[in-house]
């Protein structure tokens, strides 16, 4: 029995654009959004986040990677068990060759979240002010909300944030500078 969890939604999805491209146009909104978020890695990665609970975007090759059914079944059970309980989001950081997954439910507020991110990725979140965003730090935490927009973490009350946040990305401060304020 092959564990087929892949429906390859990507290939069968109807959309505009040349085959093989996965670009989505950046939506315009009056929320404090960030520039340079429609580069390939961001959008493609965001697209993957859409399919967090759906099968991965790559077509799975039978028997590859070579993992025994016994182990695959254990991993599968674990994933379902883990993800029904918590609010898992992927966290990436510019320049880091890996992602982490965290459960937002575990943290009580922004300070705890930032501490966890700092430990995980070895950086420092700068001082936050509503007008200027984050100061004094090379890296800035951002998140993708339910509408697909990229926002600065800390803008909205915590409860609203954890319900809206689909994915986190820690970007270089230089990319986040020069943002418009919330109108």
């Amino acid at each position: 029995m092959v564990l087929e969890k892949d429906l390859n939604l990507d290939a069968t999805e109807l959309r505009l654009g040349l085959p093989g491209s996965s670009e989505e146009s950046l939506r315009i909104s009056n929320k404090r959004a960030l520039p340079n978020m429609n580069d390939d890695s961001g959008v493609a990665a965001a697209k993957k986040c859409d399919q967090e609970t759906a099968p991965p975007t790559k077509a799975q090759v039978v028997g590859w990677p070579p993992i025994r059914s016994y182990r695959k079944n254990s991993l599968q059970t674990k994933k379902t068990e883990a993800e029904t309980g918590g609010m898992y989001v992927k966290v990436s950081m510019d320049g880091a060759p890996y992602l982490r997954k965290i459960d937002l439910k575990v943290y009580k507020g922004y300070p705890e979240l930032f501490k966890a991110l700092e430990d995980m990725f070895k950086f420092k979140v700068g001082k936050y002010s509503e007008r200027e965003g984050y100061n004094g730090s090379e890296f800035v935490p951002t998140y993708e909300d339910k509408d697909g927009d990229w926002m600065l973490v800390g803008d909205v009350p915590w409860e609203m944030f954890i319900n809206a946040c689909k994915r986190l990305r820690i970007v270089r401060g230089s990319e986040a500078r020069g943002l418009g304020c919330v109108v």
Partner: protein
């Protein structure tokens, strides 16, 4: 002169001398010395190993070796583990049990791997062998707890019941309770593959408490944490133990009970299981860590910081199985703490995700190769690699005997240079002269096979996927690797020429499996004709291979040597030659 020497030693003396010779190879050599030694040896051979159950028939084994006590059989090819062999292919043990039931009443050990074992087979074992002691079913399937109940009820002297990684159907029978109250002989019990409904905890506790010789106990997932402490207190003499589910929150009473129970286990050397473990409970095992030689954390979601803490308590570790959550930093800690490490296996936590979810790269393996001089066996899943790293590893670990690298994305090149990994794997085979097992991955050309053919003279098993450019690749391996026994290949452009040129080589090997390669039906027919002692099986679920155009390649090809001739239990999707030397549909 030699004749006189042979007659000067009586049969009894020779038999006594032979009893000290345990290895199959040596026994085979002894039996080839002369006719009388052959005769004496065959009557006193007690242990048989059959690496391919279709290579010989049970009747032939029984005819030559009439007094066997222990048998080990392997069925499906290794690629079956990865769903590359369709269900129903074969590997049935019942014909063997049926023959042995009559011929070997004193058989006391049966070890099976990748075979189909039915309840009927288990019931026959229980009924036929009065002094049955050891049953190992590794990666087997086809039986239920009914069959286990039969074994438990009848085998009064059972010492070992090991179901490692088998698939067992739950028939809702409380099979553990079928061990009578008078039964006390268990030494090794591995039921880690069983589901939650299949083990009655109270029956387990009673069993453990009345078996004073119990040394190895591997429980299944469903046994909760507080019960674990109970079990350990009942069996403080355990050497190997597999833990069960950890509960969600840390409770200090449960923790201290568990820690206390572990601290009683002075003989504990090997720990595994750890499903769903909560890192807060890990310190409960610290008291045994200094003595641990083997640790299997490959089902545990523990992250790098906790893993680093754990391995720093385990200086005697020889064997570690772990997920890629250990990350490069964890492997560096391993390299500095565990100088006796011989075996390392790192599995992917999220193998099907395109992006890495843990910071594990080639650097981790390089660190271990540098810090652990006794490293012999490696299985490593990662997402990037470089030739430089492979060369370093090869130079640091010339004593490697098993090297299996899986770069998760097929055809990935050296991330530093964009080159294929020919040079890197070439260094491995050149430096590691005792290498017996190798698995390749990443971007590879025919060059790597040239290196393998040239240097890997002791290589016995080779696994290849998505590699090579032409038949030359396969030809290098078949013509160069003198010790090759098992070769498994998938999705490589290897075809007819290499196979037919090296047909004779195939008879010196146990088996060759090729999946999605470029071998034509014509070549299969030709090979069949040329080599009567090879079984050439075409496995194709798409329909009769004859019905497709001539230049169409076969889906899968399984070639193995056999003295038993073609088998009679082939499913509809396996084709082979018949007496008329034409491929036909099997019955």
């Amino acid at each position: 002169m030699p004749k006189r020497l042979a007659y000067s030693l009586s049969d009894e003396v020779l038999e006594h001398v032979f009893s000290f010779i345990q290895s199959d190879k040596d026994r085979n050599v002894v039996s080839a010395v002369c006719k009388s030694w052959y005769e004496i040896e065959r009557w006193c051979r007690r242990k048989i190993f059959v690496g391919n159950c279709y290579a010989v028939s049970p009747k032939m084994v029984i005819r030559r070796f009439p007094q066997v006590r222990s048998i080990e059989l392997k069925g499906k090819p290794h690629f079956a583990d990865f769903n590359l062999v369709p269900d129903g292919w074969g590997g049935y043990v019942l014909p063997w049990i049926t023959e042995m039931a009559g011929a070997y009443p004193w058989l006391d050990e049966i070890r099976l791997k990748r075979m189909v074992v039915t309840d009927e087979s288990l019931e026959l074992i229980a009924k036929s062998f009065k002094d049955f002691k050891v049953l190992v079913l590794a990666s087997c399937e086809g039986f239920s707890t009914d069959g286990l109940a039969a074994i438990a009820a009848s085998c009064k002297n059972l010492r070992e019941l090991d179901l490692r990684e088998s698939e067992v159907d739950d028939s809702s029978v409380h099979w553990l309770s079928h061990f009578p109250e008078t039964y006390t002989s268990m030494v090794s019990l591995n039921i880690s593959c069983l589901g939650s409904g299949e083990v009655s905890f109270s029956a387990l506790e009673r069993l453990v408490s009345r078996c004073p010789n119990l040394r190895s106990l591997k429980l299944n997932r469903a046994v909760p944490l507080d019960k674990t402490a109970n079990i350990l207190r009942l069996a403080p003499q355990l050497v190997e133990f597999s833990t069960c589910t950890y509960s969600a929150e840390l409770r200090s009473d449960v923790f201290s009970n568990l820690a206390g129970a572990f601290s009683n286990c002075k003989e504990l050397r090997s720990l595994s299981g750890f499903w769903d473990v909560v890192p807060d409970y890990l310190p409960a095992i610290y008291s045994v860590c200094s003595r641990l030689t083997s640790l299997n954390l490959s089902y545990a979601t523990i992250h790098s910081p906790d893993l680093i803490k754990l391995v720093s308590h385990c200086p005697s570790l020889q064997r570690l199985l772990v997920l890629d959550y250990i990350e490069d930093s964890g492997l560096e800690a391993l390299a500095s703490n565990c100088k006796d490490l011989q075996e390392l296996r790192v599995f992917p936590s999220d193998p099907f995700d395109v992006e890495p979810n843990a910071s594990l790269t080639e650097q981790g393996l390089v660190a271990v190769s540098l810090g652990c001089p006794k490293l012999q066996s490696v299985l490593y899943f990662c997402r990037r690699m470089s030739n430089a790293a492979l060369v370093t590893i090869a130079q640091n670990c010339p004593n490697l005997t098993r090297f299996r690298l899986c770069i998760i994305e097929p055809n990935t090149a050296d991330y530093l240079t964009g080159e294929p990994f020919d040079v890197g794997f070439g260094a491995i085979v050149e430096h590691c002269k005792d290498l017996i097992r190798l698995s390749l991955s990443g971007l590879l050309t025919d060059c790597v096979f040239e290196y393998i053919g040239k240097y890997a003279k002791k290589l016995e098993m080779l696994s290849v996927a998505f590699a090579g450019d032409s038949d030359l690749g396969l030809h290098h391996v078949l013509s160069g690797c003198e010790s090759l026994r098992k070769l498994e290949i998938r999705d490589c452009p290897f075809g007819d020429k290499a196979l037919l040129t090296n047909a004779a080589k195939l008879e010196t090997m146990r088996s060759l499996l090729m999946s999605s390669c470029s071998v034509s039906l014509e070549a299969c027919k030709l090979l069949s004709q040329k080599m009567p002692r090879l079984n050439v099986e075409v496995i194709d679920e798409r329909g009769p291979p004859d019905s497709r155009p001539k230049n169409c390649t076969v889906d899968k090809l399984y070639i193995y040597r056999s003295v038993a001739g073609p088998r009679f239990d082939m499913p509809p999707f396996v084709w082979t030659k018949d007496e008329d030397l034409a491929l036909r549909l099997s019955p």
